[in-house]
Symmetry: C2
Subunit: 440 residues, 2 copies
């Protein structure tokens, strides 16, 4: 391989990850040649602003205003897409490169969540490599592990913490007793959360990543729009405190699993036992855990974002392209992928944490407990303590008591119906808080 | 690829892993063909006993009394070595297969720790694939991650729990307050420890695995014999209790790291903060953590042994061979590997946990503390409690008090010299316990 011409890379999008990547290519040529016996050089770039200082020297690279022109350029052998956006120039340029048989590497989870199957199909048709390790859990090699590292093992359940913003907020709420809004403000000041944080804190970012993992784990088509998604904005200090007393932490998890009813895909705040490894994943860290038939449980934890960590995943994909590693992008050839067989969320079975604002009148707790009994929901714990005060504007007008119920394994639809009945009885005020419990 | 002839596999050694592997090949042909479009069939086997019932049907496979003859047989395309042993038939048959250009997959850590560089060289010369994912941390894809998953990231420190027997014993000692001997006996009864457990509990198994990781992490030759190795047989309940009170768990870690003095390789019981992820890896689980320049920390946790998990790693190596993935076995071409540059253990710098049996005479503690001061060793904690009783036959003849000192960062040689001086002063009885502290 020693005397091959250098591999010429074109990069569209020079933000944090792009700048890290270019800096590695500029500074680590020696390491690269040592590992590969082949030079890899960035010959073309495309970005929004030509004048912005990104801390790296772009003077030796050809500039393209149009990323599609870069993707098609005869001066590049491999195209790296780091612009983001689920359609538009990102999609057009990836398609253009693959149609010409040029390998593509991207970190764009939104795009893969929406168009992954189509792109995988295009890559297959042109026998071209398509890598997206950096799209899920930044620096963690979860895509490689799922595509190449499990042998014949079949995944039964995958779950993970895949959004650093949410995990940072929940960790600080837990460790420092700060409320959600203050944590979010700090996260924004520290650059861990966007000015408009909706996409992260409402769970959509996690949903995109989970949809990609679901396809790789279960050999089905990507179905990002067929997912139960709930963010962390309604998590109160009272939830965190009671959960903690009962031996649980609260994490925003993405979970997908095989059930008799189909495949469940869900993103929601989750009570996890403090003794579980996933509970120990704090701050901006990410982690993904795989439960399989052959390998009981495999957990990968590491940085989910950050320029250098994400760039390292982009480079490992580029190396695979150079090496000639050929794996179907979604693990199986597209023709072998099954349609996504959605399990109904109301068929979900698990434990539930239910927090209610009960009116401070005689018989309220008894009425609530009776409704649970009627639905044959077994309660593991009932907590009513004077110090549990929830800052809920809806309840300010009258005296209420916070009651927390922990159920044993029960059906989601049974929990929902029962809570509706309790609300109709008039013994509670405001919207009940329901958090799912996951045991590992 | 669809119409290629089946890949014919020969397996030498049909113990737990071999039987799991054969059973997967017999039962999962459909999954295999779906993933690969190519059949993989076991055509030849070799094992010690022909008549032993292994729960799998071997009748369709050609039997070889001599594994070397199997490796050389024209009826196999790929050789799987699962016999074990660092020399002898395992080495001879691996050499024979590679010399004929047949890919080899093995789970034999002892052999790679001793002959890995020579075998990697042979594989290179004949342009043949050589896989050993199953040799380190059973079902955890750590070899693939190091060889293919890190891009250009350079490892600064690698550490891990790589022996399930030791971790099982230490976990039970911690959670149940049982002493070492009773835990070992239980582990033997449950099949988690061998009848002769020396190899595991004295740290040699971990040392073999660490030596392989060191080579892959730091681009140097394997040097399993140049390592500080200390097992867990001297860990007392008193150590575990005091460590726990101070916020630490005790784990048997293998640690390798770059230092200004060279590369440290060491296996020893280690105090790790309870808040660290590695502290949460309990029972027979394994975990390996990588600290790199680009990816701050990456942790992989999962089963370190077991037939199915280890067989899954063997199969993932076989799949890589079928796919044609070509990576130098030790990450770099053998000619590029540097000699192992050993850091002297006495130059190791870290915190220390020191437990002494001080004579119950006035001035003992003052004398010990003075010696520490003379050596400029700063103490973080000093614990002397009446309830700390150590079951040490050497101290039974006289009244002693257990004293535990926790040092701040200091040099190993300074700690050793100071303890020698304290012993010479005559204020302590028996051998002091010294456990290194690692912070993550």
């Amino acid at each position: 391989m020693k005397n091959e011409a250098p591999l010429r890379v074109g990069i569209a999008g020079v933000g944090t990850v792009g700048a890290s990547l270019i800096s590695m290519f500029l500074n680590d040529q020696e390491r690269m040649t040592q590992r590969f016996g082949r030079q890899i050089v960035v010959t073309g770039i495309s970005a929004r602003s030509r004048s912005k200082d990104r801390g790296v020297d772009l003077s030796e690279m050809a500039w393209f205003d149009d990323p599609v022109a870069l993707a098609k350029s005869d001066n590049i052998d491999l195209f790296v897409e780091l612009m983001g956006g689920e359609d538009g120039p990102a999609l057009a340029s990836i398609r253009a490169a693959l149609e010409l048989g040029k390998p593509v590497v991207t970190a764009n989870k939104a795009l893969i969540a929406k168009h992954g199957v189509e792109i995988a199909h295009l890559a297959e048709q042109t026998n071209t490599q398509f890598g997206f390790e950096a799209a899920v859990a930044g620096g963690i090699p979860i895509i490689k592990t799922l595509r190449e590292g499990l042998g014949l093992a079949q995944v039964q359940r995958v779950y993970g913490i895949m959004n650093g913003t949410c995990n940072y907020i929940l960790t600080r709420m837990t460790n420092e007793g700060i409320n959600f809004q203050d944590c979010l403000k700090d996260a924004q000041e520290l650059g861990y959360a966007e000015a408009d944080p909706t996409f992260d804190i409402e769970g959509f970012d996690t949903a995109h990543k989970l949809a990609i993992l679901t396809s790789l784990c279960f050999g089905c088509k990507i179905a990002a729009d067929q997912m139960y998604v709930e963010g962390i904005t309604r998590i109160d200090q009272a939830d965190i405190k009671v959960a903690s007393d009962l031996g649980f932490d609260i994490k925003l998890l993405g979970v997908a699993q095989r059930t008799p009813d189909g495949i469940e895909q869900r993103v929601h705040p989750t009570l996890v036992p403090k003794t579980s490894t996933i509970a120990g994943i704090d701050g901006v860290l990410n982690a993904v855990s795989l439960e399989t038939d052959h390998v009981e449980e495999l957990l990968l934890a590491g940085p989910g974002a950050g320029g250098d960590a994400t760039a390292a995943s982009v480079i490992s994909d580029i190396f695979d392209c150079v090496r000639g590693t050929h794996v179907p992008p979604l693990g199986l050839p597209v023709a072998e992928l099954e349609p996504y067989d959605k399990a109904r969320m109301r068929e979900h079975e698990g434990g539930y944490f239910i927090r209610l604002n009960a009116r401070d009148i005689p018989g309220a707790l008894a009425a609530i407990a009776s409704r649970m009994g009627e639905s044959e929901i077994s309660l593991e714990s009932v907590i009513q303590r004077p110090d549990l005060v929830v800052n809920d504007p809806e309840t300010k007008s009258e005296a209420t008591r916070t009651v927390v119920l922990i159920t044993q394994k029960t059906l989601e639809q049974s929990v929902r119906q029962t809570i509706d009945r309790i609300a109709a009885d008039g013994f509670i005020v405001g919207k009940p808080q329901v958090i799912r419990i996951e045991r590992f």
